[in-house]
């Protein structure tokens, strides 16, 4: 991902509303040419941070640099960055062409230059021929593409997107995720993308910044964040997981009355949560090595298309009162018959897939 687009340095950015912290000392480096996603639940401060980058929200203090230039006092219209708004914010009194040509006109481009760049942007977003349509005559997906075309037509080095796909249906959304990513790769841009959809974040990003309560909780590649969440909130928020209370007593980890093995070096004594990803569990025959075995009763077995979801109530005598979820792929490779409700089963979790969070 080496390119010469501007990088973004965010340092100690804090924004309060009254005594409520919408952003709390956020520091974050977005590398040149990177696709970085701000991920967090509703109200976590994602939009606020994006608005600080775009210049619409002034932080209480902190620094925002594009390249080496401090921009925190620069008004929005001088920042020269592309932005796709959540509700698209297309100009209803202009047609598609005029919408896309607007930033070019402001930049004093000649008529023919504007026309050329609009045509190019339209073809990038695959809307050739729709230039004369009114905004009201477009479908949601088309509006989204027009908004995107308008944001990239002046070749900004930085592109911000605030949940641009949230209004689209699932299928179109998944298509657009891939298209947006390809677009990012083909243009020289640093992209900051906002979403509350963890799957979208995992699919599209070079790195993910998980935000909650206005604070940056973890920054890393999708893989790092998924396999190594550094706290219970992230483990719960990213991907599916069952979180089971566990105890560490003198370097040994216990789940209820049973000792279990964990992947990383043991932690200080105290209460933790064991993170179990449903798809990492497998039906055990008791002969596996380096594997934690959990026995229990199937409480629910739900067909979900590509996979079967099992809810398993663990044997209370050995693990305490808890249940966990397991996902079995409904693939042809599975010769075993699918466990049904009420069945007693034993499932395994490799030591390398077992880890604790606070």
């Amino acid at each position: 991902m080496q390119s010469n687009a501007l990088n973004i340095s965010i340092n100690d950015v804090t924004k309060t509303y009254g005594d409520f912290y919408a952003l709390k000392d956020v520091s974050l480096e977005v590398k040149s040419g990177e696709f970085l996603t701000l991920l967090g639940p509703s109200g976590s401060g994602k939009t606020t941070l994006l608005m600080v980058l775009a210049g619409f929200t002034r932080p209480d203090y902190g620094s925002v640099k594009f390249g080496n230039e401090e921009v925190v006092t620069k008004p929005p219209h001088l920042r020269d960055i592309g932005m796709v708004f959540q509700n698209y914010a297309l100009f209803p009194h202009m047609n598609v062409e005029q919408n896309i040509g607007y930033p070019q006109k402001l930049r004093g481009k000649s008529k023919s230059e504007v026309k050329e760049s609009v045509a190019e942007a339209l073809s990038i977003v695959k809307l050739d021929g729709l230039g004369h349509r009114g905004v009201a005559e477009l479908s949601g997906g088309q509006k989204q593409r027009v908004a995107l075309a308008r944001a990239i037509v002046f070749k900004p080095q930085i592109l911000l997107m605030d949940e641009p796909l949230s209004a689209l249906d699932k299928k179109l959304r998944e298509e657009m995720q891939i298209e947006l990513r390809q677009l990012h790769d083909s243009l020289t841009m640093t992209t900051v993308y906002v979403t509350h959809d963890q799957k979208e974040a995992l699919t599209m990003s070079d790195r993910i910044a998980v935000i909650n309560d206005g604070e940056l909780k973890q920054l890393g590649s999708p893989n790092e964040i998924y396999t190594n969440p550094n706290n219970a909130f992230i483990a719960d928020f990213i991907g599916e997981s069952s979180l089971l209370p566990a105890k560490v007593i003198s370097n040994k980890t216990y789940l209820g009355a049973s000792e279990i093995m964990i992947s990383h070096p043991s932690k200080d004594d105290g209460d933790y949560l064991l993170v179990i990803r449903p798809e990492k569990l497998f039906l055990a025959n008791g002969k596996e090595k380096d594997t934690n075995l959990f026995s229990g009763i199937v409480e629910g077995s739900i067909f979900q298309g590509e996979s079967q979801l099992l809810v398993i109530k663990l044997d209370p005598g050995s693990f305490g009162e808890q249940s966990l979820r397991m996902r079995l792929p409904n693939g042809s490779n599975i010769g075993q018959k699918v466990p049904i409700s009420g069945e007693k089963i034993s499932v395994g979790l490799r030591k390398s897939d077992s880890f604790l969070v606070e």
Binding site: A54, D80, M83, N87, A89, L90, P92, H93, R107
Partner: protein
């Protein structure tokens, strides 16, 4: 399945449709009666009367007079001039004020709106005489200005065009503000942010995005103000001091002084036709919904 061509439940569903339409029609019946007795019949009567001459026979003399007599032509010109100027003043005062209100938080905008509406709810007659008290030769404004030494002679504010315009603009301003405000509030704030983000200075963003989007509300307001002004009576009568004669005043004097129902009716008909014409042209420019102030 009784008949081959019949689809399941087709007849039942059609019947249901018919029933609903009938109910809706039933709901409008009282209103139709009202329209018929309070509008169609009186207006029809007006038409009829306008074709009755002085001597009681059918004639066009009431209309002829309007084209041939200078005084009538002057009255029409005055009516249009005063209406036009009032509308213009309302636009110049109302647009910036409404823009300001639309940018406030809802709470403060609500407080401002009350300020706009309180005079709106006060009797027109009261407000007109209040202006007279304020503006006349020995009125409040002249007295204060003289006491403070700004002027030595009282300024003639009332009993002329300026007094009429001040009074009428004050009364008409809310009619401009209300639809315009509804329109401006509905303008997506993100559109202005988008304009700024795309490189537009605040002034540029205003003229290229906000203003064009506010035009429907502005047109609706201008239209209402102009049309209501055409029929104004009390304010020009009181504040114009007899020098400003508008069509409605002529109608009244035709009846009260000359007992000429025919002449009065003809003027009424012309006023009505002109108003309808303006509304028709406007409806080609703005959709009727927007004239009501909703988007």
């Amino acid at each position: 399945m009784a008949l081959i061509d019949e689809h399941v439940n087709e007849a039942v569903l059609k019947n249901l449709d018919r029933k609903e339409n009938f109910t809706l029609f039933g709901l409008t019946v009282p209103y139709l009666f009202l329209i018929f007795f309070l509008i169609i019949i009186p207006v029809g009567w007006l038409f009829y009367m306008s074709f009755i001459g002085r001597d009681g026979s059918y004639s066009f003399e009431n209309y002829e007079r309007m084209v041939t007599q200078k005084s009538y032509i002057r009255i029409f010109l005055t009516t249009f001039k005063i209406s036009f100027l009032t509308t213009l003043i309302c636009a110049l005062l109302g647009y910036p004020l409404t823009y300001f209100m639309s940018q406030l938080s809802r709470k403060w905008a609500g407080i401002c709106m009350i300020g706009v509406l309180i005079p709106f709810w006060t009797s027109l007659l009261v407000r007109t005489y209040a202006w007279l008290v304020l503006l006349q030769r020995k009125g409040l404004i002249n007295n204060i200005a003289i006491d403070l030494g700004f002027i030595s002679e009282p300024i003639k504010f009332v009993h002329n065009t300026s007094g009429t315009l001040i009074g009428m603009a004050h009364i008409m301003l809310p009619f401009l503000i209300l639809p315009l405000y509804a329109n401006m509030r509905a303008i997506d704030k993100d559109c202005l942010k988008a304009a700024a983000n795309l490189g537009a200075t605040p002034t540029r963003a205003f003229w290229t995005v906000f203003f064009p989007l506010s035009i429907p509300g502005l047109l609706a307001g201008l239209l209402i103000v102009f049309v209501i002004c055409l029929g104004f009576y009390v304010t020009p009568a009181v504040l114009g001091g007899g020098k400003i004669i508008m069509a409605a005043m002529k109608i009244s004097s035709n009846i009260e002084l000359y007992f000429s129902w025919g002449a009065a009716s003809a003027l009424g008909v012309v006023l009505l036709v002109v108003t309808m014409l303006i509304l028709y042209i406007a409806s080609k420019l703005v959709s009727i919904d927007q004239i009501g102030g909703n988007k």
